[in-house]
């Protein structure tokens, strides 16, 4: 593999790589605003300027400059710096980034230019704490403001659409958002107008920024110019911690960061987690806003006949209902992790002798051709996988079966299902219907006994996406109320019914899953976050 030398360090590059991309791949950050690994190159922020040494035997490109030596301007020369985001790598190229005093000077000057008319309203800016202007000022700026004039005032808090607010004073016009809506969202509604310090972004006449990828414009914005209405003023980012989760919005299984406040145990937002194979750098609005399911409609207490009760009472009732079942139907959930489904399948097949599986999940929607799948469940493939030799049937068959008296008892996992009122009523006419549900929904409504399961935010789990890639999702917040992970409830029910199952710990369960070759593909380890 050919190499370039960056600050004396050998870095391999692939054909067609620019300097900044090769450095990014090697985990080295060349300071930048407008460059984004998933977008085209604009080279307009000038922050990534580097010094490229001439090839051996050739003269360096130098510029005549006047330099202030404290008393007077003296004529001197300095090397011509070039943007690392635009210059392609050639074998043996020598690049100076952090080690060049000229580059350090250029970064400081670019920083001063970008901040010249900045309102410095960090106290009310949601980006504060994760803002590149702040980071790079500390790393490369640290000058005293020299401009004595009032700054150029531009529109503030402009609504760009249902999800995004724009602040032109904070904008450095890097055009990341413009390129994003054009290149990734394929909906070019943003454009730049005016020049120099009057430059600003605007929405096309008669349009709003209202496609399914509006929140990504906020995410790619390196400064606080675009902010999300959903997250606006809700939290300061330095209070938040991130868990590496998998988005629950659809079967694509986008890698996400779930940002939560550990002090009040609330989730505040989803951010995409870079994964070249699944979601690259992006997530859709539907997925980014789905973090709210961590709190919305959660079932946090056990219920018997729709009435909240203690866990002990609910378990006693579940035991009564499930002892000596006539014909037992098992409902797996495409919303729950493979661990939950696997525990339920193990209990059913090994201990209860049940062999009829059904699959519950959210009704399909429309695929958007970019990221979002038509299947709106995160783990359909995983639930089908763990059922292996007995593939689950659609839930309509269960409704028909219960109505016809073929199934007298139901043990169900999950919350959402495509069931209407009559179907729910039909299901609740079963002799015993025990459900393990995280959210309010048709299943919890139909069940006689509901045990509160953890949502994805409260447990470690494996989700298999539409490409059959198993991915692990980390726990963010603590279980809410009496809720416990679904597989724990399965183990508790098994114990109540008098079976000793080897499912006491998550590691035990995962070992059992790994031993069942049809039930599990080896989960890919969570990729380390790139050095962004």
């Amino acid at each position: 593999m050919p190499n370039i030398k960056l600050d004396g360090r050998e870095i391999p590059f692939m054909n067609g790589d620019t300097i900044i991309r090769a450095a990014h791949r090697a985990g080295i950050d060349v300071p930048h605003y407008c460059w984004h690994p998933g977008l085209s190159v604009a080279a307009n922020c000038r922050m990534c300027l580097v010094e490229i040494l001439p090839p051996p035997g050739q003269r360096a490109m130098r510029l005549d400059v006047l330099q202030w030596n404290g008393k007077e301007y003296v004529s001197t020369q300095k090397p011509k710096l070039q943007p690392a985001c635009q210059i392609g790598c050639t074998d043996g190229m020598e690049v100076l980034s952090d080690s060049s005093p000229h580059v350090a000077d250029a970064r400081k000057t670019v920083q001063e230019l970008l901040l010249l008319n900045h309102p410095v309203d960090c106290p009310i800016c949601d980006q504060a704490g994760e803002c590149r202007l702040q980071d790079y000022w500390l790393e490369h700026g640290r000058y005293k403001k020299r401009m004595h004039d009032d700054i150029v005032h531009k529109p503030k808090a402009v609504s760009f659409g249902p999800t995004i607010v724009y602040d032109a004073e904070r904008c450095i016009v890097c055009t990341r958002c413009v390129r994003f809506v054009e290149e990734v969202a394929k909906d070019p509604v943003l454009e730049k107008r005016e020049r120099g310090n009057l430059g600003e972004i605007f929405v096309a006449e008669g349009r709003q920024l209202d496609n399914n990828y509006t929140l990504m414009t906020e995410h790619v914005c390196p400064v606080g110019a675009l902010t999300s209405k959903d997250f606006r003023f809700k939290a300061r980012v330095w209070f938040l911690r991130s868990a590496r989760t998998v988005c629950q919005g659809c079967a694509t299984g986008c890698n996400a960061h779930l940002d939560f406040d550990p002090r009040n145990q609330r989730a505040y937002r989803h951010r995409p987690r870079d994964n070249e194979e699944i979601n690259k750098y992006w997530m859709c609005d539907h997925g980014m806003l789905s973090y709210a399911r961590a709190h919305e409609g959660r079932i946090t207490e056990a219920r018997v006949a729709g009435v909240a009760t203690t866990v002990a009472d609910a378990l006693a009732e579940a035991k009564r209902r499930l002892t000596n079942p006539g014909t037992l139907a098992i409902v797996l959930s495409a919303e729950h992790a493979s661990e939950d489904n696997f525990a339920l399948v193990t209990l059913a097949k090994t201990y209860l002798g049940a062999g009829d599986f059904f699959l519950a999940g959210r009704a399909p929607g429309e695929a958007d051709g970019v990221l979002m799948s038509a299947d709106r469940n995160p783990n359909t493939a995983g639930a089908v996988q763990v059922a292996s030799t007995t593939p689950p049937k659609p839930l309509a068959d269960l409704v028909a079966g219960v109505s016809a008296g073929r199934y007298t008892h139901v043990l169900a996992l999950g919350s959402e299902a495509a069931l209407d009122g009559p179907a729910i009523a039909a299901l609740s006419r079963a002799k015993g219907f025990v459900a393990i549900s995280a959210h309010e929904g048709p299943i919890a409504k139909a069940a006689h006994v509901v045990l509160p399961a953890c949502s994805w935010a409260e447990m470690d789990g494996t989700y298999v996406n539409a490409q059959d890639t198993p991915q692990r999702s980390q726990r963010a917040i603590h279980p809410q109320g009496d809720s416990r992970p679904g597989w724990e409830w399965v183990a508790v029910i098994a114990k109540e019914l008098g079976f000793a199952t080897p499912m006491r710990k998550l590691a035990e369960l995962r070992r059992a899953m790994a031993a069942e070759p049809s039930a599990s593909l080896p989960p890919k380890s969570i990729p380390a976050p790139p050095a962004e």
Binding site: P119, V120, D121, C122, P123, I124, A128, K145, M147, H148, D149, D150, I151, H153, K156, A157, R232, F233, K234, R236, W238, F239
Partner: protein
Amino acid sequence: MGNGIIGKPIPRPSRDAKVQAYLPSVVAGIGVTVKHFFKNTKELAFGQRNDPVLEAFDDGVTTISYPEQKRPYPERFRGVHRLTLREDGNPRCVACLCCSTACPAQCIHIVAGEYADADKKGWEKYPVSFVIDELRCIFCGYCVEACPCDAIRMDTGQHAVPYDSRDQFIYERETLMSFSDPSGRQLTENPKDDPARGHTPDRLKH
């Protein structure tokens, strides 16, 4: 563990007759009390008694009639917090949460909100709720240091008031906004440092 404890030798007081016989000291102590008794009685009788608050710093009378009389606090005494106001009566606070970030006792709880468009007047963010738990507060003054807007101050000159129930120590936004500095001023002393609006600080003017 080796060396054991190495102590610093302290010279013992001499045990001469004056120290051993405690009576001289008792007499001297009673003497001080009697001296003050006669001095106070004389000053009261002749109307010579001055402001006991100021006098407290002199030799002589060391007792003041608290709470009717109070010692003057130093100018930089850190008292109960107040939220400074803008001219229009809104709090200057922009709910940046810098104070609650800096607070080592974690006694400040703020919920931020956005002004409705009609009320904006150049400001976007304000505290919907601003609560200080004065029981948790250690009066270190970091919140005042951290505030970029001079919105929180501890110049009320009041110390933490004793209450008879805990919830009375939870100061809400309106309570904090109702306090003033000892001269009765509720606005800030530094109107120029308001980063929320494009005001050029004097130091940057030509």
